[in-house]
Symmetry: C2
Subunit: 189 residues, 2 copies
DNA sequence: TACATATTGGAGCGAGCGCTCAAGTTCTGC
DNA sequence: GCAGAACTTGAGCGCTCGCTCCAATATGTA
């Protein structure tokens, strides 16, 4: 499976086509026919290199998440409004990863394996937000900071869904309302 | 569509079969064949009563949501905490339809037809929440009440997703944090 | 060069999908 | 009890799906 030069190149073309299609039509819209047509490859070539369609899809999603994940060093210097802005940009920006992420989360509602993966990345993000809350409002109990982070992320996720369905939706405006007064003033100032 | 007694009964049998199947096998598992076999009805009868398969699915979801409505008549008597409690009950209660609702919303991220339907019901709900905000805090500008309703519903949706993936998640606790102080005190007694 | 192995395209398989349609049956109001 | 609307059936249409198969060809190795 991909031992000769041409084979590896074909593999890359297939992954690239899958990536492009995931971005354009989402997880359910990705068909084998679309992938092979887009990669200009026969179905036989595809199955010479991948065990199944899902095999290719998971590989692309894995790579995409990895590319976005980094948490650069986790230095802990990001403010609450930084995090909110980053999340809004993630949802409303040009990158299609957000849509895929939410569709994956939707699958997680019935697929325990996917649910575990989604929850893990969710928890990591809640921690980041909780830390930022603590820095913003130092007198907060840690549990209270965590609770506020949870609510904030929930709201951002929900607002993101609306934003992705309704292009006219001003996600940033609503998202900023989630900030404590001081941070909101800084952000809108 | 469903004007004679038998027709209405058939309609109920179909909805009941759809409800049962949605609960048992999830949204992907519900096929027309399964519905009609389960309801002991020909495909033609189905299409005499429903415009499409999705039509029946939406109806089931709509009814499930309505079932937890604290003010089905729209009398304008529901408080903010009533609405939040109803949403939490819908998400965390015994009915498996909440899962279906969120999966439908997920499909709306790439399917414009579904997106339109989801957004329509979303807007209706935002209005209900906005009215309740207005009643709770009369000095609020209408636009501000609408904005708070939007954020609140976004948060409830996002928290619902977490709750459905993580059985240990205390959705109600986090949801109540979204209420204004007076209402929160009333709700937590 | 000779040969094994990897890679290729694409016709086509079998299954399953949502949905249509023509024909016959049942119900209701008058 | 009759007209006509509402209801019913289920074979089957047209389509798409993931995937298989295999002869032809390209590639790397000795």
């Amino acid at each position: 499976m991909g031992r000769y030069r041409v084979g590896l190149e074909t593999r890359e073309r297939i992954l690239s086509a899958t990536r492009r299609l995931l971005a354009e039509v989402g997880i359910e819209g990705v068909t084998l026919k679309a992938i092979t047509a887009n990669a200009r490859v026969g179905a036989g070539s595809f199955y010479n290199l991948f065990a199944s369609k899902d095999d290719a899809v998971f590989e692309v999603v894995r790579e995409a998440i990895e590319a976005v994940d980094p948490d650069p060093a986790g230095a802990g210097t990001d403010s609450l409004e930084d995090l909110v802005d980053a999340f809004v940009a993630f949802m409303t920006g040009s990158s299609p990863i957000a849509r895929i992420y939410l569709q994956l989360a939707g699958r997680g509602l019935t697929d325990p394996v996917i649910a575990a993966r989604v929850l893990r990345s969710h928890r990591r993000r809640v921690e980041r937000f909780a830390d930022a809350w603590q820095r913003e409002v130092p007198e907060l109990e840690p549990a209270e900071a965590a609770a506020r982070a949870e609510v904030m992320l929930g709201a951002l996720t929900g607002l993101g869904m609306t934003a992705l369905m309704d292009p006219g939706f001003d996600m940033r405006r609503h998202a900023l309302a989630l900030l404590p007064d001081a941070a909101r003033l800084r952000a809108t100032g």
